[in-house]
């Protein structure tokens, strides 16, 4: 397998080249612009067969993706922050129409004030739109996740759009060593999209996007929920097949030294890499620290996460976005809810951190684990490293 030095954005663009989608509609936005730029060059150099639509906005990017997916094509796009927010209107339409679309999303703070750096508020803002959401810790995971997302989204048992995220600048612009698959291996792995019906079959005309009133809308929404719930085993099935090809194993979440942990944190994305360093340090000192890294946030693997965390006395949930709901970040509220029915459950506290690209340092992670050693004395929701 080829080894290459790639930034997160380059890794995403390379994966897109190898996937060779039928249609890509995209609009530039920092820090995801490179994905579009690199892919546009692939188109210009004839390295892909893709019809590339350089749209005038992200709203039109997602709208064109919906049209192309309804027409039966394999469709991809990429965006970030305000761009994702501009797509928000169309994201739930894509999932409700059960149209697979694969998106590379680079996590960036939402305005305002305007800020171009990493946090998860853009992706979290889109968490309830019926999109599968997969987070990546580094460029390798971004590459691997994007390849798997094609199979997951297009699986006839799923038929939902999927976004794979990296952390803005931290992953998107950081060069790392990644192990790629050969082009031919990717081609064989992703296969071809075979929709049951499509808009271009003029012999068998279908109406997509009809007005759905009180008598049917609810059932159709229920079907989307069912598809989302049912996608978890398929995500694992695809991960298994991927592991057989690459040796790289993925679950809905990863456990890092969690089995016997007495203090643990839950996090997503690039922060997990930093946390592992601190956990190793603490373990060397005999402190039983561990981590649960969420890979798949939608569907939310509530039951399995609850099982994994139930017996740990103290848990800190890290949120790189704030719900502004006066009760903590989105990951925190979902994890607490997941544990509600467990007879034995941890004391859980929340850290909202890293908004607008504020660095999270080893010292920050150390302070969280230190807090967990006296968890009863801590506040429920903490803003880490902010000047109060």
């Amino acid at each position: 397998m080829p080894i290459a030095a790639k930034t997160g954005n380059e890794a995403m663009a390379e994966a897109m080249r190898q996937i060779n989608p039928d249609v890509v509609a995209a609009y530039p936005i920092t820090p995801a612009t490179e994905v579009v730029m690199i892919f546009a060059q692939f188109v210009a150099d004839g390295l892909v067969d893709t019809e590339y639509i350089p749209v005038e906005s992200e709203h039109s990017a997602m709208s064109a993706c919906v049209g192309a997916s309804a027409a039966g094509a394999r469709v991809m796009t990429g965006t970030s922050s305000q761009g994702l927010a501009l797509m928000y209107e169309i994201l739930p339409i894509a999932s409700a129409l059960r149209l697979p679309i694969i998106m590379s999303e680079v996590n960036r703070a939402l305005s305002g004030p305007i800020n171009i750096h990493c946090d998860h508020s853009d992706t979290m803002g889109g968490r309830d739109f019926g999109w599968i959401q997969i987070f990546s810790e580094n460029a390798q995971e971004a590459y691997d996740n994007l390849l798997q997302a094609v199979r997951i989204a297009e699986d006839p048992r799923v038929k939902l759009p999927a976004m794979v995220t990296t952390d803005g600048f931290i992953i998107s612009h950081c060069m790392e060593k990644i192990e790629m698959l050969e082009d031919s291996e990717v081609k064989a792995f992703v296969g071809e999209r075979k929709p049951a019906a499509n808009l271009l079959d003029t012999e068998h005309p279908i109406t997509i996007g009809a007005l759905d009133l009180q008598d049917y809308y609810f059932e159709h929404r229920r079907q989307v929920a069912e598809a989302m719930g049912g996608s978890a085993p398929i995500i694992l099935e695809v991960a298994d097949e991927f592991a057989k090809k690459t040796g790289r194993k993925y679950g809905l979440f990863d456990e890092y030294k969690l089995a016997d942990a007495e203090i643990a944190m839950v996090a997503l994305g690039s922060t997990c890499g930093t946390a592992k360093v601190v956990i190793d340090e603490l373990r060397a000192k005999g402190i039983k620290a561990g981590m649960l890294k969420i890979r798949v946030f939608r569907p939310f693997p509530a039951e399995k996460i609850a099982e994994a965390l139930a017996k740990i006395p103290a848990v800190a949930v890290l949120d790189r976005s704030d719900s502004l709901n006066a009760q903590g970040g989105p990951v925190f509220t979902e994890i607490r809810s997941a544990l509600y029915d467990k007879a034995k459950k941890p004391k859980i506290i929340n850290y909202i951190y890293g908004l607008g690209g504020r660095d999270i340092m080893l010292t920050d992670i150390r302070s969280i684990f230190s807090d967990l050693q006296s968890v009863d004395k801590q506040k429920l929701v903490n803003y880490l490293g902010v000047r109060e």
Partner: protein, 311 residues
Amino acid sequence: MVTLKELSKRKDPLTGGHRACSGCGFPQIVRMVCMASKDPVVVVCATGCLEVTTTIFPYSAWTTPFLHVAFENAAAALSGVESAYEALKKKGKIKGPINFVAFGGDGGTYDIGIQSLSGAMERGHNLLYVCYDNEGYMNTGVQRSGATPRGANTTTEPAGKVKAGKMRPRKDLTGIMAAHGIPYAAQASVGYYMDLIRKAEKAFTIPGPKFMNVLQPCRLGWVYDQSRTIELGKIAVDTCFWPLYEVENGKWKLSQKPREKKPLIEFLKPQDRFRHLFKPGNEPLLADLQAEVDRNWEALLERAGEKGGAV
């Protein structure tokens, strides 16, 4: 040009039983445009009267493939469909020609959808966008749009004790589309149906982006007797309120020049949305509206190279 007899043998894009108002003008527009295509058509429709009245689940009046996504993005969505077609055709997965048509009302076209439309036109997709222009947001209860003419009463810019309805003239959308340098932009009216069919037929023969702006009298929003839709569509043209013309590769051409230009009040009078204009004291506004039509008509004659001479 295709004859009515030939048209009658082509596939009707709409079945009967859809829920459009009696006397509505857009079913005719949809039928004439789609049937002017000798090849199969795929339709994308913006949110609005047309979508709402033809696709109430589990029913659909469409016999062609049909996609509705949202209000402001019919052109973008259709550009995705058309790109998918190009990609899949290249790979040999699809054979045979298809014509791609978007329908949007004036709200979804002049206002909220203009960015999406402008982008699709600039990118040069091979598609036809048809605006069925009824001069307001009729689906949601007759609100004003950028296509509402000056003086008209709407529910969001109503006529009252101190205001005489909409204060600003309409946007020249056909001109804006022509300014994109697209190969074909045209203005038509449901009242002159042979002209409409001819234009749609021509549009389908031209590769690249095409735009047609079709006036559609709306009995609900314009407030007139439902039997007069086609007649009003004709009067709009005969008064030069809504001239028929084409812009083909930058060349402006009048489609017809009224033998006798009728006064604007013949168009305004039958519509209750203009009733307040005929109250005493509004004479200067009526004169102004006539002057505006005259100015626009003269400018069009100039652009079409018709100034001074009879056709």
